[in-house]
């Protein structure tokens, strides 16, 4: 299982193994990482699972589709590598990936 690092806005780091095929959101929820709210449970409707992919990993994480893009347009602070973590499916290539979580989701 790829190990992914989640960094909360206050610097708290979590290193957790996330199964391939799960989403980055699942990894946070299953490990009780606070900074992912995920009100809708992963249906790309609420934008409360916003994360910022470490720029080094942005290409591997991929680009948001139009629907996700529209939701991201309205999050509090959007960064260039912002994604909704429910839409980022974990692959073997994500071993070591780092994502940061926004302050607004606390």
């Amino acid at each position: 299982m790829p190990a992914i690092t989640y960094i909360e806005f206050d610097g708290t780091e979590y290193h957790v193994d996330v199964a391939v095929g799960n989403s980055v959101m699942d990894g946070a929820l299953n490990n009780m990482i606070d900074g992912i709210v995920a009100e809708c449970g992963g249906c790309c409707v609420c934008s409360t699972c916003h994360c910022m992919i470490d720029p080094e990993w942005a290409e591997i994480a991929g680009e948001p589709n139009q629907e996700e893009n529209e939701l991201l347009e309205m999050v509090d602070v959007r960064e260039q590598t912002s994604r909704l973590s429910c839409q980022v499916q974990v692959t073997a290539a994500m071993e070591g990936m780092v994502v940061r979580l926004p302050e607004s989701q606390y």
């Binding site: 929820l29 299953n30 490990n31 009780m32 449970g41 249906c43 409707v45 629907e67 347009e73 309205m74």
Partner: protein, 408 residues
């Protein structure tokens, strides 16, 4: 809080799962027991009528959390177990098995059950309700052999089920007693749109159709309406709303109205008992009234307040309600509660295509919005509702004006 404390959660759905997580996060070190009448690990309900029914979402993806998460939380589950009564005075639950479980704190996350129709023939094979994973497993079994389905009820569950069964290649007829779909919750524009959408996808919609009987030998064969029309069916799904599970609470002497009455801290009328989710009747300071909601965001957010209360922390719950529904390629996102609106205005074209938003106005303010394939409008609508300022309706419906610019 100490190790001898015992929190018992009745129910194991969205509210219960958030509640146990929040309990641990807020420092509950005592024992936690979860009692569920179902036999499955906690799962998500919204996809039941959508991607899970249509086969697009596997069962393991339906689970709310991985099973290791519950090990980390150190929670004991009692599955297939029914609580028959709460002895509030002695802080004890009586189970159907005769077992008694003591608690120092109790959380009622009992949810809601389907409203059943009292009609001849509902006991026939192929007739289903839809609330649980087992219900949907049975529906999927029936669907394998069915070519025609009748859905009784043109609300969200009925329409989502119609879309999912259509996707499985079944010819679907929806029977609705009212003069339009979604009459209780949506504007005429939205009702009209969903009728058009379903008809474009091959679903037959029959309005003003009151069902009087289901017919068949052992297996359902047809549905009879009060105009004596017969709709042939190999399967029938009844989706006519839910009833909150409040009996345990009322028999224990807790205050119950349209749901278990709680305050903004999810506290019931008993100091050691909280409640969260679909079963509660709760105040909302944004809406300035008490209400009962059938919604995942409500269950999760209220559960956080409930867990805080059990830990002796005051954390008020007051969020803007929101909902969503997936049907065919259309995603509806609803912000706020439209009840009481005086005007419904449309941004985009409701009569053509599959993308527009309806804003519900009262006292020149937006109180709710139904956004059809318009995620950005939905996000903006939430902010506009919360800002509670006079809205420029002309600008709101002008697609030439970027909607974001309307936020103060």
């Amino acid at each position: 809080m100490d190790l001898s404390e015992h929190a018992v959660i009745v129910g194991a759905s969205h509210a219960a799962v958030q509640l146990m997580i929040s309990l641990r996060q807020q420092g509950w070190i005592g024992h936690i027991t979860v009692i569920s009448e179902e036999s499955h690990m906690p799962y998500q309900r919204p996809p039941l009528s959508k991607a899970y029914l249509s086969g697009d979402l596997a069962e393991e993806r339906l689970l709310l959390r991985a099973s290791e998460t519950y090990e980390k939380l150190n929670v004991d589950f009692k599955f297939g177990c029914k609580v028959t009564s709460i002895d509030a005075k002695n802080q004890q639950l009586n189970l159907e098995t005769g077992e008694k479980i003591g608690f120092t704190k109790l959380a009622l996350c009992t949810g809601a059950r389907v409203r059943e129709l009292d009609l001849p023939g509902t006991e026939l094979g192929g007739v289903h309700y839809l609330r649980t994973m087992d219900d949907v497993k049975a529906i999927r079994q029936s669907a394998k052999k069915a070519s025609r389905a009748v859905i009784i009820g043109g609300g969200y569950i009925g329409l989502e089920t119609a879309a999912s069964l259509t996707k499985l290649g079944i010819k679907v007829t929806v029977l609705e007693t009212e003069t339009r779909l979604l009459k209780r919750v949506a504007s005429e524009q939205v009702s009209e749109f969903y009728k058009r959408l379903h008809e474009e996808e091959g679903v037959e919609i029959r309005l003003g159709s009151k069902v009087v009987a289901l017919q068949g030998n052992s297996q359902v064969k047809s549905v009879v309406c009060d105009d004596d029309s017969h709709s042939g069916a190999d399967m029938v799904i009844i989706g006519v709303g839910v009833i909150p599970n409040t009996e345990l609470a009322s028999e224990a002497g807790l205050v119950v109205e349209n749901g278990i009455v709680v305050d903004q801290f999810a506290q019931t009328s008993h100091p050691d008992i909280v409640a969260a989710g679909d079963c509660t009747f709760h105040p909302n300071s944004l809406l300035k009234k008490s209400l009962r909601l059938e919604s995942v965001p409500n269950a999760s957010e209220q559960a956080k307040a409930a867990a805080a209360s059990l830990c002796g922390i005051k954390k008020a719950y007051s969020e803007l309600p929101w909902f969503w529904s997936d049907q065919f390629d259309v995603k509806l996102q609803i912000a706020g509660i439209s009840q009481g609106y005086t005007e419904a205005v449309v941004r985009g074209d409701a009569s053509l295509g599959r993308s527009f938003a309806v804003f519900y106005i009262k006292n020149q303010q937006i109180i709710a919005a139904d956004c059809i394939n318009r995620p950005k409008d939905f996000m903006v609508a939430k902010k506009l509702i919360l800002q509670q300022s006079t809205i420029d309706v002309a600008a709101l419906v002008d697609e030439g004006i970027e909607i974001k610019t309307l936020i103060n």
